[in-house]
């Protein structure tokens, strides 16, 4: 009855429905209260899992195969923790944001609640079909968020592109599920994992390919990244923050989960290298495009495309490499997920604050921010430090772990990619900072911002730095049990 695993999925459903019924004025308060409890639940789960227990919950008391099982292991607990930790300050931020622009936030709270419920359920899912359901739910909620934020025809177009991409992705995934079930007669991960070995029939290989491709489409990996910049760049800042920081990580989490748990015996270095190369291409292309942008939010959106690339460097590092390398690489990628999640949320929140204060987000006219909005600029800088992978941030630790894994598995090309990526990130982050340090132009007006618009972002950015000072617990959690 009091199983945190069940409640962490149910609670957001409750407050989302309630928020829809009551209306947008009170949605923020409901969300904040719900998220606070959810964070506590996530911490409980994380603690239990760190202690060595793997939590299993059968929904409604019905066991698999007909019932749905929810399972919390280390990776799932870590993702749950990230989601609630990022969403809580964002709830405060969004509340303040939508006080200024109420028309954008009419359906924000219910949709966010459903999004969070679906994401939590996805992290806890223990069978591939439930993953499909939650994947679709996340996709639909996210599309809804993009579409309901105002912005006229371009927003609808971005939402539609996102929708079609996400439907294509989950359709491919579903076909993969069908093939898996047809071959093995089960969808449960714990049942399937031991069954899949090197002699698997072609149908299973096809399933793997379909599922991974579908998920890559949803994660906006190059060359499937076309839908991300308009969707993330065009939505209101709180929505962009949620999408870039959390939603995109959910589908990557699934790729990681499937690769490591299910498809490990089938993985060939060629496929892993391909993913690694696509990741590298994403880093280079995304950073290059970010440099070219004239608008701040689009720059941050392309930065997401680039940073996603780092995550895909995992695969060449875990395929047929020694165990210490696998451990370093997994820990590094989980750190990167956290680092990017916290930093990107902070960055988008900061960008939103800039827009609310000055009325625009053109980078060339950002002058004066350093003296008029110092807290927001500091937030942006701290988030930038994390993305660049410089000390004292968690991004630096992620980079350290990944470079360590690359050196111990002798994959020098990856090191070069990571280093160049860091330098390119510095290029576009400092581009923004440079313009912010210039004097303000005559025509710019700066509205005073309420505290809640600046401080949640600052807290998120600070968290990304503080995590870099003490990450032992997180990395141990990630590879538990």
């Amino acid at each position: 009855m009091t199983d945190p695993v069940a409640w962490i999925v149910l609670l957001p459903l409750f407050w989302a429905t309630l928020a829809f019924v009551i209306g947008p004025e009170h949605g923020g308060r409901l969300a904040f209260a719900g998220l606070a409890v959810q964070l506590a639940l996530a911490l409980t789960v994380a603690q239990d899992v760190s202690g060595g227990a793997v939590r299993v919950h059968s929904v409604g008391g019905w066991d698999a195969p007909l019932g749905i099982e929810l399972l919390a292991d280390g990776l799932a607990a870590a993702m749950l923790l990230l989601t609630q930790t990022v969403a809580l300050p964002l709830a405060l931020y969004a509340r303040a944001y939508f006080r200024v622009h109420p028309e954008c936030g009419r359906y924000f709270w219910p949709l966010t609640g459903f999004l969070l419920a679906a994401m939590n359920a996805m992290f806890l899912s223990a069978d591939v079909f439930n993953i499909y359901v939650t994947l679709e739910l996340v996709g639909l909620a996210a599309v809804g968020l993009v579409a309901s934020g105002g912005g006229g025809a371009p927003a609808i177009v971005a939402a539609l592109r996102y929708l079609f991409a996400t439907l294509l992705g989950s359709g491919a995934y579903l076909l993969g599920v069908a093939l898996l079930y047809g071959t093995y007669g089960s969808v449960s991960l714990s049942v399937l994992a031991p069954l899949v070995n090197e002699n698997a029939p072609a149908a299973v290989l096809l399933a793997a390919g379909l599922m991974l491709t579908g998920l890559m489409l949803k994660t906006a990996l190059v060359p499937f990244q076309f839908w991300l910049p308009p969707a993330h760049g065009g939505a209101p800042a709180p929505v962009s923050a949620l999408l870039s920081a959390l939603v995109i990580k959910a589908s990557f989490y699934l790729i990681m989960r499937l690769w490591l748990t299910l498809y490990m015996p089938l993985t060939v270095p060629a496929a892993a290298q391909l993913l690694g190369m696509l990741g590298g291409a994403a880093i280079l292309w995304g950073s290059f495009m970010a440099l070219r942008q004239a608008h701040l939010k689009m720059l941050v959106a392309y930065s997401t495309v680039a940073q996603i690339g780092y995550l895909f460097l995992l695969f060449p590092l875990v395929t047929q490499t020694p165990p210490e390398t696998v451990q370093s690489a997994t820990q590094g990628v989980v750190m990167q997920i956290f680092a990017h999640g916290l930093a990107k949320a902070a960055m988008f929140a900061a960008a939103g604050a800039v827009i609310l204060s000055t009325g625009h987000d053109e980078i060339a006219h950002l002058g004066g921010i350093s003296s008029r909005l110092p807290l927001t600029l500091f937030t942006f800088s701290m988030a930038g430090v994390t993305l660049m992978g410089l000390p004292p941030s968690s991004g630096f630790l992620a980079k350290w772990l990944l470079i360590d894994a690359a050196i111990s598995s002798r994959q020098w090309g990856l090191i070069l990619v990571m280093i160049v990526g860091g330098l390119l990130t510095a290029a576009y982050v400092f581009k923004v900072l440079r313009h912010a340090f210039l004097k303000a132009e005559q025509s710019t007006t700066f509205r005073r911002l309420p505290r809640m618009l600046e401080w949640p972002a600052f807290i998120l950015a600070l968290a990304s730095l503080l995590l870099g000072l003490r990450a032992g617990d997180l990395v141990n959690l990630a590879v538990a049990p």
């Binding site: 003296s371 630790l397 470079i403 050196i407 090191i415 000072l469 003490r470």
Partner: protein, 503 residues
């Protein structure tokens, strides 16, 4: 946490905490800000004095914190750390006083002093780092905290200089990181111990170790302004004078040179480095830098740029000292770390005084400036003579040891390098002194900001620091043989680093 564990952390906090508070202070709270600055600087000096006393009595001050399982941040007050940290703290105190005077009336002082404090925190962290990971950690923090100081003025020129600075330092940092992670992968942990820990690796790693050495030296060499990695330094002169003083005497370049010292002595071990035939190439690079820097300095009319190229040249004396195999050379290099810091900061303080008081930026405008600003020019002269290596100055002491060390190492060619450099130093400093003291003052100065007030030729806050540091140049030389001089300290360190040297 015991007192011995907390003390290194407190030394960091003594500049970090005031810095963070200053960021939050509104611009007009001048007195509060100045108080915080000075209190922080004084507290730091006190704490370091206490640590020095403790270290001479063999107390161990160490702070450890596990960032990841198996990866620790370590702050350790060993002899080498104390050398650099004392220099940093003392010079920070002087520079803070100077900066308060220099930036009077300038905008954005809270931001400036906030980052100033962060910069010193990072420098102290670099000094006290007990392993290569911690060193890298604070080294990159130094890059991040000095950038806002370089672009402080917000002009196009300073932003461009900032770009160049970042490009060099971030690239250097990336190269350094590769080397560091690689070495960690081979060794498991890389603590700074006299004699180094790399020698325990099997001989088949020799080539890998050579490459890693190259990466590490290249990475720290950017900040140490080794040719050809020096391009950022002259450009960074666009920053306000306190920044140039701090960057060039204390923080950035010294951190780079310090890094080279640590890598050669306490990671690789000097004897092991010699066995890998890495010392001679390093000595050659240092020598090229020494000559090149001095040559470029000759052609500069802008005073700060001339001093910048002089810095490039002089910091490589330290590297040369490190690269000359033998304790005497080491002593010379380490002593020069302190001496060059004091001398260069004096020169930059004076340059700032000329610019701020009279609007004089170029050497060609310095005719007769000694008559208008005698105290400043006296300090400048002492600094210049020290650079040349005239007896009774700190510069003479370190150069003497370097030359002896070159002879003892059988590298007589290095003596020629040192001699040539002294001559070049004379060539670009003596004319300035001649102009300042012996040529007639012009009718009006380019832009006289500060009038003579009685006997004070300029703002007291601007006058004090160069006089103090000028005095230190002479004191360091006259009392070089006492047990408290930088020279004595350098000898202590050198004795520990050479494990198998029979002398």
């Amino acid at each position: 946490m015991t007192w011995n564990q907390a003390l290194p952390l407190l030394v960091l906090a003594s500049s970090l905490v005031p810095g963070l508070i200053i960021f939050a202070l509104p611009e007009r709270r001048r007195i509060m800000r100045t108080t915080l600055n000075l209190v922080g600087a004084s507290v730091k000096l006190l704490l370091i004095g206490f640590m020095l006393w403790g270290v001479t009595r063999d107390e161990q001050y160490e702070f450890r914190h596990a960032v990841l399982p198996g990866l620790e941040l370590v702050l350790h007050a060993d002899a080498l750390a104390m050398l650099f940290v004392t220099l940093s703290a003392a010079l920070w105190f002087l520079t803070t006083v100077y900066a308060v005077g220099y930036l009077e009336g300038s905008p954005n002082r809270s931001r400036f002093f906030g980052f100033f404090s962060l910069c010193v925190t990072a420098t102290v962290g670099v000094a006290m780092a007990g392993n290569l990971f911690t060193f890298f950690f604070f080294y990159e923090l130094l890059t991040l905290s000095t950038y806002p100081l370089v672009v402080h003025r917000g002009t196009e020129k300073s932003l461009r200089a900032g770009n160049v600075y970042l490009a060099y330092t971030l690239a250097g940092g990336a190269v350094l990181l590769t080397g560091v992670v690689w070495l960690y992968g081979l060794l498991g942990r890389v603590e700074f111990v006299p004699g180094g820990s790399v020698s325990q690796l099997a001989p088949e790693y020799a080539n890998q170790l050579r490459v890693i050495f190259l990466l590490l030296i290249a990475g720290v060499g950017v900040k140490a302004a080794l040719v050809p990695l020096h391009g950022w330094l002259p450009q960074a002169m666009v920053a306000p004078a306190p920044v140039s003083a701090l960057l060039h005497a204390v923080a950035v370049v010294k951190a780079g040179a310090f890094g080279i010292v640590r890598v050669v002595y306490e990671v690789y071990g000097v004897e092991f480095t010699q066995s890998l035939d890495l010392l001679t190439p390093l000595a050659i690079m240092a020598s090229i830098t020494i000559i090149w820097g001095s040559l470029r300095a000759l052609w500069q009319d802008d005073l700060k740029r001339r001093l910048a190229y002089s810095t490039i040249s002089q910091v490589s004396y330290i590297v040369l000292g490190v690269a000359l195999y033998g304790p005497i050379g080491t002593v010379g290099g380490l002593a020069h770390l302190v001496h060059q810091g004091i001398m260069k900061i004096t020169l930059f303080f004076c340059a700032g005084n000329y610019a701020e008081t009279l609007g004089v930026h170029n050497v060609s405008e310095m005719n007769g400036v000694g008559r208008r600003m005698p105290a400043t020019t006296l300090a400048f002269s002492i600094g210049a003579l020290g650079m040349i290596g005239v007896p009774l100055t700190a510069g003479y002491v370190s150069k003497h040891h370097l030359a002896e060390g070159a002879y003892a190492a059988g590298a007589e060619w290095a003596i020629w390098v040192l001699t040539a450099s002294s001559l070049l130093n004379a060539a670009y400093f003596l004319p300035i002194l001649y102009r300042a003291w012996f040529m007639r003052t012009p009718e009006t100065w380019p832009h006289e900001h500060v009038e003579r007030r009685g006997r004070l030729e300029t703002n007291a806050l601007l006058l004090g620091p160069p006089l103090v540091s000028g005095a230190m140049i002479v004191i360091a030389a006259v009392f070089a043989d006492s047990s408290w001089s930088p020279l004595a300290w350098a000898k202590l360190i050198a004795a520990r680093e050479y494990l198998r040297w029979e002398n």
